[in-house]
Symmetry: C2
Subunit: 401 residues, 2 copies
């Protein structure tokens, strides 16, 4: 049975979508699902989780509990994901028994779950990656470090990382001593001296239909995505096309169904290297909710429900998305009001999450003609909502870790 | 206490919105409410009603049951509406007891509930209306008819009408003989020989902040809105401005909070006459969901939650919305798939309602540069989704009834 096969007839689109995980990505699927007439049920760990607050149908349970996932699948035509941490064996048993379709299927999803598998597969297919090593012992880590003139590498846990967690710049095997208990192998990568980070998002249906969004520029702060500019400034049409084709090829090679984000490094000399993959809507695509004909959450639903994909065309020359990362201010509503007061074109998205330092609790987006004006507006709104007043902005750019 | 006063401090926006009525207008508020972090609870008459299917919080009850409305109000900061049929005395008691804010307040809402009160008030304020009469007996109806050279008038029940119900073109008092049992008075209006129908939508907060959308052209079929073109073709900037100002003045005069739709007749010589008022999101504003910076459902929520209003600017030169009015095909999902297959730029909105002939069960929208192309695309999609194949379109235009 193919990895995303479905018990439904192929000519009948799925109508009942089970979403595993109750975070903001599941939450932002809810609005588009309502408009498309799709019934979403969310598997959340608590009734006050981000998506559970807004969903008409919620099941409480863990993504790694086979019974909880199976119960969700029994009530759905297709399962999809808010995150990539669902064990493959749970998904495989649901497919084997024909309970529901799973999109993306576990054979694709493993490349977003396991960074070693991702590097192996992408390298074997000839897709551009940083130099990388598999290390199964402190000795292997030190040997790899000894061969680097900089004496430094990026170490990653193959599984379980997110938003900078599970990623460290190291100069000694002692820097990852605490990781061996949970991870028998680590991924080591060269420290890419990148000029900036890009992200290429594509959507793909199981039959092969696919669509590419404009390639965007992503800027991190403390290891977390902070600002996204769509399309990536200064990227000419040929480079846009080349990078979109790369992402489309990866989606095809891995048989991805749904949204795929390919996070990329661009070096000073214009070389493109693949950093990470995500098989779901992604932070670097939030701009599309407000500034593309088809937002990524609608597009993901269309892909997993096996509906034809929508246009990825932007509705304005530029869009800027800035994340609301938790700061001192715990009440975002007051700042939202102030930010809306200043800027009638501002789009605010709150995730209903308790504010904790650095936590993604919402985002803002503006679209229009003048990129520098848009950046100033988006960052001002972020500061106002986070209670930081109206001071000058700064964004952090750095090395690949 | 003012009509929309609230027990909250004026500096604290409302966060819990009780929506009375579970139709598609309440349903289309759900997505924007999730994004703004507002908690919507819907008072629906059945669990499978349009908005009840998608809402996280649903209460089953009738809009004219004082206890049901009060229970909703107890759990909300502010009440608002999917339709205008809630008895004023229920809303007044909620305000008198300070249970929740009501937006729009009952003193404004009466002008959308009672067409005689609307005509009185608008005429007194000097706003342009068709010639009209109040008739309390068959004799008064016949007397008014006798004075018309055409021998015909439009008769309306003052309350309870919608989508052509409660509106008739008459040439004798016998034509309304069945209405006297429920209605002690009728509204009679001249049969306006209009060239087309327009609609002007504005949003207003209780403090007076207001915003006007582009004036649109609306075309009916069998007394029901069928096609909306935004902005209205051929309306020059001065006329756009004049009509927007009229709608803004009406909102101010009546102290409307939330969205106000002013449905208008435009005569051959460019005269503008007010047809109807609606104080909620309106069918003629659905285009804004997909083709304005701030859609009317988000805008209504912002106004009733006392958040600053958003930009009403369109994101494309033209938008065309076509209603899906129930036809022979009961399964809309199949046609939706075919329509999406043909047109990646198409936006489809389904309301989750059982298909009945002429019933509004969804709408489609397209936006872009070429108006005639957009009209062709929207009507083709409507035919495909309604199971009518891909034949040529026709739209019906006629007299004011």
């Amino acid at each position: 049975m193919p990895a995303d096969s479905t018990p439904c007839s192929p000519s009948v689109p799925a109508r009942r979508i089970g979403v595993i995980g109750g975070g903001q990505l599941a939450r932002m699927m809810l609005g588009p699902a309502i408009e498309l007439g799709l019934a979403v049920e969310v598997l959340a760990t608590a009734p006050d989780e981000s998506a559970a607050q807004g969903a008409a149908a919620v099941r409480i349970g863990r993504h790694d509990d086979p019974a909880a996932v199976r119960d969700l699948a029994e009530a759905a035509d297709v399962l999809t994901f808010d995150h990539e941490h669902v064990p493959a064996e749970i998904l495989e048993s649901i497919l084997d028994e024909g309970i529901a379709a799973v999109r993306p299927g576990p054979a694709a999803l493993v490349h977003a779950q396991d960074k070693l598998r991702m590097r192996e597969r992408l390298s074997a297919a000839g897709h551009p990656c940083p130099r990388w090593w598999r290390a199964a012992s402190p000795q292997e880590v030190d040997a790899a470090l000894a061969a680097e003139t900089s004496g430094r590498l990026v170490a990653k846990t193959p599984r379980g990382g997110y938003d900078g967690h599970g990623v460290r710049v190291i100069s000694s095997s002692a820097d990852v001593a605490d990781w061996w208990e949970l991870h028998p192998e680590l991924l080591l990568e060269e420290l890419v001296p990148f000029a900036r980070e890009l992200s290429a998002q594509v959507a793909r249906r199981s039959g092969g239909e696919s669509a590419a969004y404009p390639v965007v520029q992503s800027t991190q702060r403390d290891g977390v995505c902070f600002e996204v500019v769509a399309p990536a400034p200064g990227l000419d049409a040929a480079d846009q096309e080349r990078i979109q084709q790369l992402a489309l090829h990866i989606a095809e090679d891995l048989d991805v169904t749904g949204m795929l984000a390919v996070e990329l490094f661009e070096t000073e000399d214009g070389e493109i290297l693949i950093n990470e993959l995500a098989m779901r809507p992604h932070n670097t695509g939030h701009w599309s909710m407000d500034a593309a004909v088809t937002g990524q959450f609608e597009q993901h639903l269309r892909a997993v429900a096996d509906l034809p994909l929508g246009s990825t065309a932007p509705v304005a020359p530029h869009a800027v998305m800035v994340n609301l990362l938790g700061g001192q201010e715990s009440d975002l509503a007051r700042g939202m009001r102030a930010a809306m007061e200043q800027d009638g074109g501002l789009k605010v998205h709150l995730y209903g999450k308790d504010v904790r330092p650095g936590r993604k609790v919402g985002h803002v987006c503006v679209a229009g003609e003048d990129l520098e004006d848009l950046r100033a507006r988006a960052h001002r709104a972020e500061r106002l909502i986070n209670g930081g007043g109206d001071a000058a902005t700064e964004t952090t750019e750095g090395a690949s870790a």
